[in-house]
Symmetry: C2
Subunit: 114 residues, 2 copies
Amino acid sequence: MKPSDEIVSEKKAQMRRGLLEFCILLAISDGRAYSSDILKKLKDADLLVVEGTLYPLLSRLRAQELVAYDWEESKSGPPRKYYELTRHGRETLLNLQKTWKELHRSIITLEDAK
Amino acid sequence: MKPSDEIVSEKKAQMRRGLLEFCILLAISDGRAYSSDILKKLKDADLLVVEGTLYPLLSRLRAQELVAYDWEESKSGPPRKYYELTRHGRETLLNLQKTWKELHRSIITLEDAK
DNA sequence: CATAGTACCTTGTACAACAAGGTACCTGGT
DNA sequence: ACCAGGTACCTTGTTGTACAAGGTACTATG
């Protein structure tokens, strides 16, 4: 039997996880961003994400052609991959924002049913 | 390369999935409910869930002592397991509702950052 | 030229949803 | 007495995903 705090935080993490891709698309939608920019934005929004999660996720979004990147040299370190949304990515993001609103309504419906 | 509609609906499903446990706790919080009640409530809130997902999930919530059930005979068919929230389950639900609000804020923060 | 800092990536693990298939109970018709 | 249909519960196998941990490589600085 796991301690109850752990159970709660697992469920919180689970809720957060489902929104990850959506949030990352949102974070990129502002314009060009590389991994540290994205991590920082998510952290500023209180959504903790680690590198090991972000990189495969960006690769996936890339494979689905929702984002594209180009290399840019940095003044302090190795070159960076700057990501931006493709046209297709922008359309998808609009779609997901709609989905988000629908989910919000669903929760309210369930809460009101009480 | 998968068709773009499929990509979008996978992402929608992913968002929905993270909220499943939360929604099921919400659906039960109204009082006693058995599987068909729960499925109906979720469907009414436009959240499609199938049996094969619900049963293991209820077992998990039971193992975590967030819900409890008792058997009740039905007038038309086999007996049913009626679920209700335990005290611990009600506390957890309050916690998750708070988490939900925090996530909502996070999304807004990301949207506003544009 | 070694160290520290930054950036990218991969591998292995654990867990969850879902599809599909299975068991068992009750009722009503023949 | 039996079987067909509806209802309810459950299990197994597959697939996908986040995450921890560890690894490579480039740049600047002392």
